[in-house]
């Protein structure tokens, strides 16, 4: 199968400052047509042409899944990151033409659930905004617990509490408010599913606490996009295409493969979906596996790598690509 995803040519219709750290971007189709519908929890991969560098970053869709007129995403500025969010914040203006992918959902609602219990931290709120809109139309039963640093940085807090005063609970870090997770997990009706999206620490906390409380693993859903890590440059031989490439310090292996004009499959670009899994033909050195896709056996076997987030340190690496 061919690599990549179906693409949509879009125009930036609107850029809105949500707060000091977050901007919202609205995309409409350049051809004037309708956007595809999607399911709450889906993301789109935004292509950023930043001079000679192309970045492809995934962002959760936050708009109403039933609204065919536009897609919206929210981007939190990360001054320490590899530059994708800074590009979106500093360079992208209304009227710009961009390319985004069709929606892909790696964080979908389990529609069998009698109740959807949601935990969001910071910018992790975005997939829930779409899920809540989807559930509201269908009369679904949900409850959101949303942790933010301060009132000023609480993206979409007002919108959520106004629309769903009885279902949305906000916790402010600066007021030392914390989600009482143990109590919440103890009192849920049978058939409840848990969803968590936020910083890694929060995801681990919710997953582990639920596990300790005897929740079935299959009733606990989480979305964690891993950003590709920077690291020392390294060289890679691509056996099939007969090329040797260098992966830059702030570049992912996948990005370097793409920059060399080699078609490689991907979906999430965050180490979660498994689509970019690549066979290792030979290596002398050590792998830095950053994904949560490969099994422990595959890692110790040193015969697979997820080029979207993982790196290599050593003398030689040959990939089947």
């Amino acid at each position: 199968m061919s690599a990549g995803t179906a693409k949509i040519a879009v125009r930036v219709a609107e850029v809105v400052d949500v707060n000091e750290l977050v901007k919202r971007f609205k995309f409409v189709r350049r051809d004037g047509g309708e956007m595809p519908t999607f399911s709450g929890g889906a993301h789109t991969v935004v292509e950023m042409r930043d001079g000679a560098t192309t970045r492809l970053n995934p962002y959760s869709l936050m708009s109403d899944p039933g609204d065919r007129s536009a897609f919206t995403i929210s981007v939190r500025r990360d001054d320490e990151g590899r530059g994708g969010s800074l590009f979106m914040h500093n360079k992208v203006k209304p009227g710009d033409e961009m390319v985004i992918s069709y929606p892909v959902n790696l964080f979908s609602l389990d529609l069998r659930a009698r109740k959807h219990l949601m935990f969001a931290g910071g910018i992790g709120i975005t997939p829930f905004l779409a899920q809540i809109k989807q559930l509201s139309h269908a009369g679904g039963n949900f409850e959101l617990h949303y942790s933010v640093r301060t009132a000023a940085l609480g993206s979409y807090v007002d919108e959520l509490t106004t629309a769903h005063p009885d279902r949305v609970h906000i916790y402010y870090d600066d007021k030392k408010q914390a989600i009482d997770l143990a109590t919440l997990l103890d009192g849920q009706p049978l058939g409840t599913h848990i969803y968590v999206c936020g910083p890694k620490g929060m995801i681990d906390w919710v997953r582990n606490t639920a596990l300790d409380h005897g929740w079935p693993e299959t009733a606990v859903h989480y979305e964690e996009f891993l950003a590709p890590q920077s690291g020392k440059p390294f060289e890679v031989e691509l056996a099939k295409s007969g090329k040797t490439i260098t992966v830059g310090e702030h570049q992912s292996l996948l990005e370097a493969i793409e920059a060399a004009g080699v078609d490689a499959p991907y979906l999430c670009r965050g180490g979660a979906c498994g689509q970019c899994e690549t066979d290792v033909i030979a290596h002398e050195g050590k792998f830095i596996h950053n994904d949560h896709w490969l099994t422990e056996d595959q890692r110790t076997g040193c015969n697979k790598i997820m080029p979207c987030v993982s790196r290599f340190e050593g003398r030689r690496l040959v990939l089947d690509r």
């Binding site: 199968m1 179906a6 069709y102 892909v104 979908s108 069998r112």
Partner: protein, 346 residues
């Protein structure tokens, strides 16, 4: 497009016939002179004009008669159509996909008029004109999946995507090659494929599942599957095996060309947008051997494929008993000449 619909039966007197055009466009499944399981998926992009792949959902000369046969089977056995409670949204996805595709691909046969959620669907061949509210089941005579699939050729399974697996949680199945929705409902991908021989050892299902879990919206795929069926019987179901199973014993060297059919399934897979489920249409095409051999390449090739097929596969596909007669018949049409690559006629 001028499409003449046949008036024909798939049971009793079996008056089903393929026209010359239908023979020519038959989706012959063998691209070479042998067959083994593989993950043979390709993008479901529009194929050659006039072929079964030209449109997203093929409508052919058997449409009206197939819909009558479907209504008969559903009337006799309502469990051929099932949808677990959480699959309602996927049912609307299915209705939306089929209505929008058919109205675009066959504007002379189908119309869809949309004003927000107020929709009007016109199916001219079936003389249906239905106004309804999208996502409001009370405005249709039955559930959305059942409604549209009573007007669409082919079986459909809808697969819920969760727990890194696919679950057969809804569908309508009346033209199947000996499998049962009522038996498989609620099963996951590995469970419902458990009876298939050899393919598990080849790792086919692990690879196929991994691929399908990543199937994307806007990028449907297709594959062909095949078996052999005695008489043009669409409903070769386990539930009715006592009716069609014994027909296998009626094959003789004299009637094999007329009674024995190659049965091909055009299977497509679609990511459904609102529910994130997968839609799995399984469209059945039948062709009698004496019609098939009118395409010389197909006669040669089918002879070689069936002659050399492993015993396990001939057994699983249910024609081991009649294989000698079938192969003997087909051998008359195989002069040993080489065949060209690909499935299409020369």
């Amino acid at each position: 497009m001028t499409l003449q619909f046949n008036d024909e039966t798939f049971t009793g007197d079996y008056t089903f016939r393929n026209s010359k055009e239908a023979i020519r466009r038959f989706p012959f499944p063998f691209h070479e002179d042998s067959y083994m399981y593989s993950v043979n998926l390709e993008p479901h992009k529009p194929g050659p004009k006039g072929s079964a792949y030209e449109h997203r959902f093929d409508v052919d000369e058997h449409y009206l008669s197939e819909m009558k046969d479907r209504a008969r089977v559903l009337n006799d056995d309502p469990l051929r159509c099932q949808s677990l409670p959480h699959m309602d949204l996927a049912g609307w996805d299915t209705l939306e996909l089929i209505m929008t595709s058919k109205a675009e691909d066959y504007p002379d046969l189908f119309e869809l008029h949309r004003d927000g959620n107020r929709w009007r669907w016109v199916n001219k061949p079936m003389a249906i004109d239905q106004s309804f509210t999208f996502l409001d089941t009370s405005t249709l005579p039955c559930g959305p999946m059942e409604y549209i699939l009573r007007q669409t050729q082919g079986d459909f399974a809808i697969l819920d995507h969760r727990e890194n697996n696919l679950w057969m949680d809804a569908g309508m199945v009346t033209t199947q090659a000996d499998w049962s929705l009522d038996f498989d409902i609620g099963m996951n991908f590995m469970e419902w494929h458990a009876p298939v021989p050899l393919a598990h050892q080849l790792g086919v299902f692990e690879r196929a599942l991994k691929f399908l879990l990543n199937l994307q919206q806007g990028a449907p795929v297709r594959r062909l599957n095949w078996t052999m069926t005695v008489n043009p019987n669409l409903d070769t179901s386990p539930e009715n095996y006592h009716k069609w199973g014994p027909e296998k014993t009626t094959i003789t060297p004299e009637n094999v060309g007329e009674k024995q059919h190659l049965r091909v399934e055009l299977q497509t897979l679609w990511r459904l947008p609102r529910s994130n489920a997968l839609l799995f249409p399984i469209r059945c095409y039948l062709i009698r051997l004496e019609d098939l051999v009118t395409v010389p390449k197909w006669g040669r090739r089918l002879h070689r494929v069936l002659r050399d097929l492993p015993v396990e596969l001939a057994t699983y596909k249910g024609f081991i008993r009649n294989r000698p007669v079938i192969v003997e018949y087909l051998s008359q049409f195989d002069d040993g000449a080489p065949t060209s690559p690909g499935c299409f006629p020369d």
